[in-house]
């Protein structure tokens, strides 16, 4: 093989992938920043440069604040239910006492993760249905008539009804990630703790929790990014953030600005805001994981030295 060929070969292998990434991910990403300084509609050929006008509008847009508030609710509740709940579920299911039945539980808890959001949203529109809804009907049967309400029809409860559905769907996913992380913990750590007379709760806090710290961090960041980009759930379940704009999220607001109100430039500005939030979170994760990785390496070295 000639020298030149040898140098060209790797580029030929990676070229198709890189071209697709550039054309469909990176160039659009950069373009989005340019678009955010322009004013144009979906089918117009020309774009008008407006500078930071879109961002000024963004700062004054009340819907953006409603959306941000809802995204924050989404993030907080998801971290508590999915990350917290998922970790506890995983720890309980990995306990030796439940070893025999845990495969059934973890498979069932994981099923909602597999189902498309559209199906889940349609299902929950039956559950939240004001007349026939399973939720209201259940509340009435156990004598809590007072609690029955128009879950999706009231601007006070709509966003929480949407968030609750997300927890129903995604907790199993985070649980599964923690199960995998817990299974990687060496058994002898627990063995040693037991010999020292530690109970299960002490084992959890002194072994399981520190050992899954990295996964805990990863899941917290992913869940938060997910919460700030959430689109399908409010788009389908509350038909685009209704009633009014009460269950709006940033991504739905972006979609509606672009494809309903045809303000593409303004929608790009919202996309920039979403991007900034996500990149901050992602960098946070990279920084923390970078530290963790170097730690992992040193422990590995130590182990090798033994």
């Amino acid at each position: 093989m000639t020298h030149k060929k040898r140098r060209l070969a790797p580029l030929l292998f990676i070229a198709p992938c890189m071209i697709i990434l550039l054309v469909f991910v990176y160039i659009p990403l950069v373009q989005n920043f340019i678009f955010s300084t322009e004013s144009f509609s979906a089918f117009s050929a020309t774009k008008e440069f407006v500078g930071l006008e879109n961002f000024k509008t963004l700062m004054k847009d009340k819907v953006v604040y409603t959306a941000l508030r809802n995204n924050v609710y989404y993030a907080i509740i998801s971290i508590i239910c999915q990350v917290g709940g998922g970790l506890i579920l995983a720890a309980v299911l990995e306990d030796v006492a439940f070893r025999k039945i845990s495969p059934v539980f973890r498979t069932v808890f994981f099923i909602p993760v597999l189902i498309s959001m559209t199906v889940i949203c349609l299902l929950f529109s039956f559950i939240y249905h004001p007349q026939i809804g399973l939720l209201n009907s259940f509340l009435r049967q156990i004598g809590l008539d007072g609690l029955a309400r128009q879950w999706l029809g009231s601007s006070k409860t709509a966003i929480f009804a949407v968030i609750a559905m997300s927890q129903w769907q995604s907790t199993g996913y985070i649980m599964m990630l923690f199960i995998v992380a817990i299974q990687k913990i060496p058994e002898d750590l627990y063995e040693a703790a037991r010999i020292d007379g530690a109970n299960k709760l002490q084992c959890f806090f002194s072994i399981t929790f520190p050992q899954v710290r990295e996964m805990l961090f990863v899941t917290m960041v992913t869940t938060t990014i997910g919460a700030f980009t959430v689109f399908n759930e409010p788009y389908i379940l509350t038909k685009g953030g209704g009633p009014g704009t009460s269950s709006m999220t940033l991504a739905v607001h972006m979609y509606q600005s672009a494809f309903v109100r045809d303000r593409m430039g303004y929608a790009s500005a919202i996309a920039v805001l979403i991007f900034l939030i996500c990149i901050t979170l992602a960098l946070l994760q990279l920084l923390a994981l970078g530290n963790d990785n170097s730690e992992a390496k040193t422990t590995k070295k130590r182990r090798n030295a033994k």
């Binding site: 469909f24 990403l29 539980f105 498309s116």
Partner: protein
């Protein structure tokens, strides 16, 4: 999945705490299972029966709801989903494994940058590129075609696929490649005849994850596709609901048909599913 059997004699006893947890777990189980069971059960009922006795089992099992759902649109959505998913999976696997081979077997200037480009792509949410992508697809004249879904899906699945396959390729011993080169094998030959065959587990993992993604993807498919005849199941179900109005039994039957393929895939490929999700947990 289950942990290697350690010594568990004293720990398997079921104390009061275990009973409390069993009750909590069972309530959780019920919360997940009942709505799913209700969906299947109600998909066999008529509208009147769903409306008037929402908790009861169907008096008459209306299997024809499934036939109706299939005829009234689900068959076409199903076909579209199949076409888009299969094309996406094969493109992602081929392009991704090529790239992984290039990144894992060669040391060259800029290979780190390419790797970073991949990792960056994994962190990026599709929402951020939505509007430029929409414009790009219009410009390329492929808006409202299968390609309008396949190309963006491929682009957004490539980063994680490349990283997973690359890690696997790195573990393949160098000697294998060297002896093949001595036998006169070209780099592409080594990739196709040695690397791909011994990487079946990771390729399967990536295939399963990509299938899961493209079968359920919603955002791109509602924005880049206008014609009902090209819609995949998640987007099509929305039209299906509007068209059916109150024919709830048929709608529920359509929902069951939409959800089944991935659940079945999971049952058979659980190991690959979970392995891939854990490895790719850095981003969804």
């Amino acid at each position: 999945m289950s942990r290697k059997n350690g010594s568990l004699s004293s720990r398997t006893r079921f104390g009061p705490m275990e009973w409390v947890w069993l009750v909590i777990l069972s309530i959780g189980l019920l919360l997940i299972v009942y709505p799913l069971f209700w969906t299947v059960m109600s998909s066999l009922k008529s509208y009147n029966e769903i409306y008037n006795s929402v908790w009861n089992l169907p008096r008459q099992w209306l299997w024809e709801n499934y036939a109706k759902a299939w005829q009234k649109g689900i068959s076409s959505y199903f076909k579209n989903s199949l076409i888009v998913t299969v094309s996406t999976v094969f493109s992602v696997l081929f392009i991704g494994s090529l790239c992984a081979y290039g990144l894992s077997r060669y040391q060259f200037k800029g290979s780190r940058i390419f790797l970073l480009l991949c990792m960056g792509g994994m962190m990026l949410s599709p929402q951020v590129c939505l509007i430029p992508l929409y414009k790009l697809l219009q410009f390329l004249n492929i808006h409202n075609t299968y390609f309008a879904m396949i190309l963006p899906y491929v682009a957004f699945r490539l980063p994680i696929t490349v990283l997973l396959i690359r890690t696997y390729f790195l573990s393949i011993p160098k000697e294998l490649e060297e002896s093949a080169t001595l036998d006169g094998c070209t780099p592409f030959g080594i990739y196709a005849r040695i690397f791909l065959p011994i990487s079946k587990p990771i390729l399967l993992t990536c295939a399963v994850l990509t299938t899961y993604y493209s079968w359920n993807e919603f955002l791109f498919s509602i924005i880049f596709i206008d014609s009902d005849s090209l819609k995949t199941i998640p987007a099509g179900l929305m039209n299906f609901r509007d068209a059916l109005q109150t024919d709830w039994g048929v709608l529920l039957a359509g929902m069951v048909i939409a959800a089944l393929p991935i659940i079945i895939l999971f049952i058979f490929m659980q190991k690959y599913f979970i392995r891939g999700m854990a490895a790719g947990s850095v981003k969804g």
